[in-house]
Subunit: 353 residues, 2 copies
């Protein structure tokens, strides 16, 4: 096996940083000038294939890794971007990070991840820190879907907003089409024969709540079916779901389906209904939103859910950022569709039930 | 307001990368040589305070941000590190990332985050990619506590392993003292008056399972109390917890406490016991492990849990990495203690109960 670190390794692990093989060593071993070695390794200039191969072989033997720091100064790009996130639990921003990585990987671009903790001072600090490192662009991943102001100071690199769009319409944003997700959920319930559908959801002030209510009303109106009662606004929690299920059972005992604004609410509704003696899905079908593994699988029965496709949001954001870096920004709001994942909680009511 | 991007901004947002203010502009505006401007902004050389202030004012006015890429070539450090993670859900690696950020922030160091998806090919790819960018060091965050082989190729920068230690004893690793966490859980149950304690946990092959069983036995032995039955090995899931609770109620109806190997198991045990007519905590007290917000708070009643202090693991890993970069590595395994977070599931049995 080739020892890439030359003599350093013999001095033990703590001393291994003492010397790296340089371009000078590569040139010497290949028997070419430093300029030729550099051209060969950077894929530039007119060189004979044999020369290029000899230099590459020498570099491999010495474990020489060309410095991206140095070459980026020549190319005018650092092949690094910043990913600013604000989400402590990672529920939303982690799939966005993974999707962005997928897209950036094609370009050998790495992401600095900065967690602002929703603190504007930290955000400004990180933006400056990223710009000092000459990142090629920045992705700003939201924790909620409320539109957010653009980054302070008009950074001189492309910025893409993911999940939460920028309030500046000309900025490039990638968001989830939440209303369409709600439409898909309600259409699914209608297709399985449900007609007495209620909607238990989160706080009325949230953009997500409004989009989901709008989609619910739209799908029901298209089918000529009325929503059972008003939307039940509350929190995003299981506790609220349990409470709402108990109340709903008292006030609207003929409900045969509930579209829940989140998986946590859905799980709470499932528990609440069971404790009121109602069977899921036989008596009442349930659909949640988020398709979050621990919650949909912990739910009894497992919960049908609207997947917000956050990984695809990240992938689009990464691809749009690369495009903005290379060819110019694609301004405006880009929507990613949701997809419905059907599980036992919304199986069709049994005919003989 | 100062427009840092000079004329570029007037051309619209897409054109704003066309020109950045350079050191030449700063020097011209401050009326000094380029060398003087550079010294002033880098805090080097002998300059009068007025000169330094004038250069800084000019830089501020032009929105000039010194390039870390260029200055890192001089300083021999890039103030960047790699954080390699393997955890899709982010359950474990995200708090480690946040802790590492806390530690690295003191040093103005940013982290490239690379998700290997437990794939050795991706890991090697990312290590090379990080080394090409001349990172000062690498943190490798595990998803499970099984020891893992060191990074392939003996990277010429310091490496710190977090959560999962390296199999190489001389490497620097930061791990959770899981056995001590189990001791704390069982001592707490004993202190609240429980004597018939069972242990429902995960797969027998996992290092975490073994450490928690060892801690449980140790704490019970110290108190002269015997474990009820053998440890109940299964999966880390709620489903397993529910099943185990039902079985335990049949085979050992006098159990008054269960130490559960994870919060998911604990939540399943709570549901299973309730459905068997046993009250938590009045009849049976419960403690879980992980202190994962959605699970401990969704549990009825809220679950007492051993917090693995992952943020502190990240903080230690970050601090040890900076130390390795600056002064030399501190080899060996560093242990971070757990802490018990008490909630309603382990309140003392009522005296008149």
């Amino acid at each position: 096996m080739t020892d890439g670190q030359g003599g350093a390794r013999a001095d033990g692990r703590t001393a291994r940083r003492s010397r790296r093989s340089g371009i000078v060593d590569v040139a010497r071993l290949a028997g070419v000038s430093i300029g030729t070695a550099s051209k060969a390794l950077n894929g530039r200039g007119q060189l004979r294939p044999e020369t290029r191969a000899r230099v590459q072989a020498a570099a491999d033997e010495l474990g020489f890794i060309p410095s991206a720091v140095a070459t980026s100064l020549l190319r005018g790009r650092t092949y690094t971007v910043g990913l600013i996130m604000t989400d402590h639990h990672g529920r939303f921003s982690l799939p966005i990070l993974h999707g962005a990585e997928d897209a950036l990987g094609w370009d050998e671009t790495l992401a600095f991840v900065c967690d602002t903790r929703d603190d504007p001072i930290r955000e400004q600090h990180y933006v400056r820190s990223l710009l000092r490192r000459r990142v090629d662009g920045i992705i700003v991943a939201g924790r909620r879907t409320e539109p957010r102001p653009p980054l302070v100071g008009n950074p001189p690199v492309p910025v893409v907003y993911a999940f939460a769009r920028s309030t500046e319409p000309v900025d490039c944003s990638v968001v989830v089409d939440e209303a369409a997700g709600a439409v898909a959920a309600v259409e699914h319930l209608l297709r399985t024969g449900r007609r007495r559908i209620a909607h238990v959801t989160g706080p009325p002030g949230h953009a997500s709540t409004r989009a989901r209510v709008d989609g619910t009303r739209e799908a029901l109106a298209a089918a000529g079916v009325e929503l059972v009662g008003d939307p039940w606004y509350g929190g995003w929690s299981e506790v609220w779901g349990r409470f709402a299920a108990a109340a709903l059972t008292r006030t609207h005992s003929d409900v045969d389906a509930v579209f829940c604004g989140s998986d946590a609410i859905g799980r709470g509704v499932a528990d609440g209904l069971r404790e009121c003696g109602r069977r899921v899905p036989d008596d009442v079908a349930l659909v949640g939103v988020d398709n979050w593994q621990p919650t949909v699988e912990g739910c009894r029965p497992p919960l049908t859910s609207v997947d917000l496709n956050l990984r695809e949001v990240g992938r689009s954001a990464g691809a749009l950022l690369l495009q903005a870096i290379g060819q110019g920004a694609v301004p405006g709001v880009h929507q990613v569709p949701c997809r419905l994942v059907v599980r036992a909680s919304s199986a069709p009511a049994t005919i003989d039930g």
